[in-house]
Symmetry: C2
Subunit: 318 residues, 2 copies
């Protein structure tokens, strides 16, 4: 049981958060246009694990990314960016496949992606990776690396090692059928991972993809029934519902101005982990996660220039 | 033996040329820059088989493309373009994979591509494809579809059917190790295909990748020794050497002005096939192929607005 008024105990390790999964290029259409009739695209650094790690570092904790890229120009660009952000590179793997790429058209409605997955899902379990894991306090991953082998087996092995070594494990159950190999029951697989982790943060859409449409309180119960320990169900402008299995709390949105929603979820994770690592009690860590997310919403871009966590705390709670 | 002064006999069929292979998006960096540091890319219709078919149609013969795309915006864009060019679509297959994509940086030196192969190599042998093949006079393919299964088996089956039904078979032995699965002997495989076709058009680079560096005449002999019937060895600004196994002819380049070399090789094929189909003797068909290529070199773009073959003939040979 994770108590709201308590500090989550973390092991004494040299690294704070280790994030695992996709490191990729986002190629985004310049024009808001009919899908894919536009001719021009811009390249962006992408992948939720790296964004979380970069944010976390800016907020004032240590972070490390475990991802795979190809031996190509896109891979070099991504690694250059990580290096510029001051992240260590020892858990970056180079694979004999093209650096993964997602092409997205801008649209006033939902964006339509085409996934070109290459190196990212070739992530393998290595001695270096195990060493870094054992030196970390928190392990974080999302559905991307779970969707295909060998990355899936790598994450499964990491979860096992993380549990043996008492890391806090956070999981973003952002299941999407387009990521999964056709014919495979991704929903069932994602459900099988939930009991093995400590914290999950589904959106209402994530919940609906896993369980079908239902009320937020019912969705919370379904995650808890699967064995989730702490469920953070985000409700967009309506904030979030959080349950530790005994008590459900409502968190109103702290957003005052919305310029760009890209990366808001990753910002929550970064703020939440930073607060946990800095020793805030769970209740406050959740508030700080939502504050960091609200701060992000006021700025354009997936990764923005965050101040340290304490400054965001003063801005939102003093 | 293909005699230079003779017309190559073709079967009486409703379609002239059937080209098989990759249909894909070229995403080309806007800036001449350090590899992949540029941030903007432009999307182009791509794939040699379609370019040859589109050119051939403009030059005044019928053509059909046999390729596979994904159910996505890039696939729709490519199909729209084929439709605008008036090509029939019955041998286009839709596969459960992303439409293939090649990302290329511009550079004053050699361009550096990253290959994202999806739907293109999933091309399968179908009743529709066999019907179209049996209704065609010429079959053309390059190394792309040979590099991976199931497309490889599809082309192998097409070659067999084409030989049974006496189509003229043209093959572009543009072998590149980056296209081949690592660990597989692509060179040996490409050599095994050469005896099964009628016409091949290697560049000096192609020859060097297959046999190592050597003089043009020695390279010609190596292709002939493998069983090639007509070898057109292109030498860039120095024109081409052609051998039918008994006599070697020299063709000087007809280029007067070079604006853009993209698509020059595909233009040769289009002009050569158009001339063969229109009943010109082999010698003249070769000249017309080089004339169409020279015409292309004067215009920017991979696919340009060719006039009919007879007009190009008047321009270069009267």
């Amino acid at each position: 049981m994770l108590e709201y008024n308590s500090i989550i105990p973390l092991q004494d390790r040299s690294n704070d958060v280790l994030t695992v999964g996709e490191l990729l290029i986002d190629l985004i259409a310049d024009e808001y246009d009919d899908p894919f009739q536009g001719n021009r695209f811009s390249k962006f650094f992408g992948g939720s694990p790296s964004n979380i790690a970069i944010n976390a570092k800016k907020l004032g904790i240590n972070a490390q990314v475990c991802s795979a890229v190809g031996h190509d120009g896109f891979g070099r660009f991504l690694i250059d960016q990580l290096q510029k952000e001051g992240l260590p590179l020892q858990t970056i793997q180079y694979k004999d496949a093209a650096t993964s790429l997602v092409v997205v058209t801008r649209s006033t409605a939902t964006p339509i992606p085409i996934f070109y997955r290459g190196a990212d899902f070739h992530l393998s379990y290595s001695a270096q990776l195990e060493t870094s894991l054992k030196e970390s306090k928190v392990l974080h991953f999302s559905c991307w690396p779970l969707s295909r082998n060998p990355a899936r087996e790598t994450v499964e092995q990491m979860i096992e090692t993380a549990r043996q070594h008492q890391l806090l494990i956070g999981f973003d159950p952002n299941y999407h059928p387009m990521l999964w190999p056709s014919g495979e029951d991704g929903v069932q697989y994602v459900k099988s991972i939930i009991p093995k982790v400590d914290v999950i943060k589904p959106s209402e859409d994530d919940a609906e993809r896993l369980f079908g449409a239902d009320s937020p309180h019912n969705q919370l119960d379904k995650f808890l029934d699967l064995g989730a320990k702490l469920v953070i169900l985000t409700l967009g402008k309506d904030g979030a519902l959080v349950s530790n299995g005994r008590e459900t709390l409502t968190f109103p949105s702290l957003a005052t101005e919305i310029i760009d929603t890209t990366g808001a979820g990753d910002s929550f994770w970064s703020g939440f982990y930073a607060a946990i690592v800095k020793g805030y009690p769970l209740n406050k860590a959740l508030q700080l996660g939502f504050a960091v997310s609200a701060y992000k919403l006021k700025h354009a871009g997936a990764v923005i220039d965050f101040p340290v966590l304490e400054q965001i705390e003063r801005q939102y709670f003093s």
